[in-house]
């Protein structure tokens, strides 16, 4: 009997894995060479995978919806039509599978490992820090063809197996012992992506050293400065930043603001442009959930709450208090929250949980007069809105009769930096276009 393995193909240079989206054939089906047997999707393309040989689909090893690394065996063809076809489909747990000619010595006690490799096995903790692999982690994943084959068959992440070989290399005995211990059951399945690609955190970010010159003052970073420095670098490394710019006409809002200023003041709130912006952003985040989301490993978390962070510049740094459930607040509530947060940020009276769980951030470089900026995303969010100076500028308008005039309008430039890993240009621009429309035609009644 001849068995031909079907592997997850590499559909592009940077593609490391693919998802089985649909099986076009079932176990037991006859297939011709080059006949499509399944559909896969990778981050770049969706494709039909042709059969590498003529035969019978004997085994489906990867069920629909599961993502596996390229070169992983996803199915097995039996080219000898007389041979019995395995009933295992979709794949039963590894133990039930009969891998071709299993290496027997697995079960036997292994005195050799202790005698030959005296180095104690190091527990291979899942990657704990940033997206950048350490040398040890890379080494541990260096493995022999046999170990990779066993890992693929049992859906084991080699990085999680304690290695006893040279330089911590994972040997056959290591991976067989790991599988026997039942560990892969935890590592496989839906939890696996999270284990292979831990959520990025600040991790160890090393800032290059620079020589000081005579007369320079050198002082250590404050805690908040160090956190900000690390976080900004981590964010740049983590997200695929793209920034779009939109010009917003604030003339309508300026008029509303002028009309309602006193009323708000009487009720204990300062009606700022920012309150209008927060309100419109909160409404639009609801309509564009992909901008109110996070990337976790190979999954996307769409946040239920709309918690808007407001970057507040302090004399000693930068802090981002969060307005929780901004979509549930009235204009008055928003205006009060903004003032309260900013006030308490400057007087260091924020509670720790008031700077956490933001789902989107607004930063306002315009208060200093900046035309606009290109903000860095506040991880693990995927979008940050920059608000430029709001001021009167000449603007060409087309009147109802078709005549173009130059008018004095209250204008601002907005920028949205978004994470292109999950937010495509069209998503980001639709969000911004809706935001622009809502701000430019802000209903007075909303107050």
């Amino acid at each position: 009997m001849a068995r031909v393995e079907v592997v997850m193909p590499q559909m592009g240079e940077s593609i490391a894995e693919g998802t089985v989206s649909r099986w076009l054939k079932s176990v037991g089906d006859e297939v011709k060479r080059d006949e499509p047997i399944l559909e896969i999707s990778t981050d770049k393309v969706d494709a039909e995978i042709p059969s590498p040989a003529e035969g019978i689909l004997a085994e489906i090893r990867v069920p629909e919806g599961e993502t596996v690394e390229v070169q992983t065996v996803i199915a097995v063809l039996e080219t000898d039509k007389a041979a019995p076809v395995s009933a295992a489909s979709p794949p039963s747990p590894p133990a039930a599978e009969a891998p071709p000619a299993p290496p027997e010595p697995a079960a036997a006690p292994e005195p050799v490992a202790a005698a030959v490799a005296p180095a104690p096995p190091q527990p291979a903790a899942p990657k704990s820090d940033g997206a950048v692999q350490t040398a040890e982690e890379r080494l541990r994943q260096r493995s022999t063809p046999l170990v990779r084959k066993i890992a693929a068959e049992h859906h084991v992440d080699i990085g999680q197996v304690p290695g006893t070989g040279h330089a911590g290399r994972v040997t056959k005995k290591d991976i067989l012992a790991f599988i026997e211990s039942g560990a892969p059951a935890a590592a496989a399945g839906p939890a696996r992506p999270a284990a292979t690609h831990p959520v990025a955190s600040a991790g160890e970010i090393v800032h290059p050293t620079v020589g000081a010159w005579e007369g320079d003052r050198v002082e250590p970073m404050s805690k908040i400065r160090k956190l900000t420095a690390d976080h900004m670098i981590m964010s740049r490394r983590t997200s695929a930043h793209v920034t779009s710019f939109y010009e917003i006409d604030f003339t309508t809002i300026a008029a509303i603001r002028q009309a309602k200023k006193q009323e708000f003041q009487d009720r204990g709130a300062k009606l700022t442009y920012m309150a209008f912006i927060v309100k419109a952003v909160a409404d639009n985040l609801q309509k564009h959930p992909v901008v109110n989301a996070s990337v976790s490993g190979d999954t996307i978390i769409y946040r239920k709450s709309i918690n808007i962070g407001m970057a507040v510049a302090l004399d000693w740094g930068l802090i981002v208090p969060v307005i929780r459930n901004a979509d549930e607040l009235s204009m008055l509530g928003i205006a009060k929250s903004i003032a309260d947060m900013a006030d308490r940020a400057r007087s260091k009276r924020l509670n720790p949980d008031e700077v956490q769980k933001g789902t989107f951030t607004i930063t306002n470089p315009g208060v200093f007069g900046s035309y606009i900026g290109t903000p860095i995303i506040n991880q693990p969010q995927v979008g940050i809105l920059g608000v430029g100076a709001i001021e009167k500028r000449p603007k060409i308008l087309t009147l109802d009769d078709g005549q173009d005039v130059i008018a004095i309008r209250t204008m601002s430039m907005f920028s949205l930096s978004y994470d292109h890993r999950i937010v495509d240009g069209a998503d980001g621009d639709r969000f911004m276009a809706d935001l622009k429309r809502d701000l430019e035609s802000f209903p007075e009644g909303a107050l």
Binding site: E104, A115, P145, L146, G165, T171, K172
Partner: protein, 326 residues
């Protein structure tokens, strides 16, 4: 049963074949009256006569050429090279003529070219060589390298009966050093192309042949006693045709391979075996394929230098342990 040496087993094999088949005859330098440099054919001329045990001039090319002609006429000549080092003088006729005769002219050439090869005997550069790699590349030849007393007899008988040219590399270090009880009433014929598991093991395979089999067995024994690992020793016996199936079976079992041969490293037979394993069992490897061979130099006369240049048990041991820990 009688305890016989490797050399005596060889002698018995040729003798029995000459008794069995009148077409079998022996020719070579000093094989007749003198009985051969190592006395493999001692007493043959007296028993079988000068026509079947022929002393020849000192010309390896002429000896092989004469044998090839006789073979075409239906005879089964057994040529002795006084030392296998000298087979280089017959390289042209063996590779260009003998090896191609069946392809070119449909001519069967059932000759055996046999002789002592190998070192560890202080023989120096012209009396210690292992020239098998020089013929591995030539289609049409069969290469046999017996390691045991039983195989020395069984393989020479099979070689003489084979209808194609066989080069038979005996090992002179083994001639009188290894002994074995061989049944005298049983006909021993060992088929060509079948490897032998000299020692069963689970953690590492040593692929080897000829005298290196014994060093591999020593290393395997020490590893078993001192390290608790078991080493499979695969004695190839025949390099052409090579028993790929036996090699792959063992690789799939142990997943680690060390190839040990006495010949020099570069262009040695180990390279060919490595390539075959890569092609047929890559996914079964749990470590790089390692080689233990002689250094790339001629074999020196000086005992200390010869010991250094030729692979020793400790060299096998060192590589095997490194690979076991890989």
């Amino acid at each position: 049963m009688a305890e016989v040496t490797y050399l005596e087993a060889l002698r018995q094999g040729i003798w029995e074949e000459m008794e069995r088949d009148d077409e079998v005859f022996v020719l070579g330098e000093d094989v007749g009256k003198y009985g051969g440099a190592f006395k493999v054919t001692e007493g043959f001329q007296g028993h079988f006569g000068e026509e079947r045990v022929i002393d020849t001039p000192i010309s390896e090319a002429a000896i092989v050429g004469a044998a090839a002609g006789a073979a075409h006429m239906g005879m089964r000549p057994v040529v002795e090279m006084q030392f296998m080092d000298f087979i280089a003088c017959a390289y042209d006729i063996l590779t260009n003529y003998v090896a191609t005769a069946r392809y070119r002219a449909g001519l069967s050439t059932p000759i055996v070219v046999r002789g002592p090869s190998g070192g560890y005997v202080r023989g120096g550069p012209f009396h210690s060589q292992n020239p098998e790699a020089g013929f591995l590349h030539t289609p049409g030849l069969k290469l046999v390298c017996p390691a045991t007393v039983r195989d020395a007899k069984g393989l020479i008988k099979a070689a003489i009966r084979d209808d194609d040219p066989v080069i038979y590399f005996e090992h002179k270090y083994l001639y009188r050093r290894i002994k074995e009880d061989l049944p005298q009433d049983e006909e021993i014929v060992t088929p060509l192309g079948k490897a032998r598991v000299a020692n069963e093991g689970a953690d590492l395979t040593i692929v080897t042949w000829s005298a290196m089999v014994w060093k591999a067995l020593e290393a395997a024994e020490r590893i078993e006693q001192e390290d608790g690992a078991t080493v499979e020793v695969l004695d190839l016996r025949t390099l052409l045709p090579m028993d790929d199936e036996a090699i792959v079976t063992s690789v799939r079992k142990t997943n680690k391979v060390l190839i040990a041969h006495e010949d020099t490293r570069t262009g040695g037979v180990a390279g060919e075996i490595t390539a075959r394993i890569n092609e047929k069992a890559f996914e079964w490897l749990d470590g790089p394929i390692m080689r233990v061979t002689a250094h790339d130099t001629p074999v020196p006369y000086a005992p200390t230098l010869e010991d250094y240049v030729l692979p020793q048990t400790d060299d096998v041991l060192k590589s095997a342990r490194w690979l076991l820990a890989y």
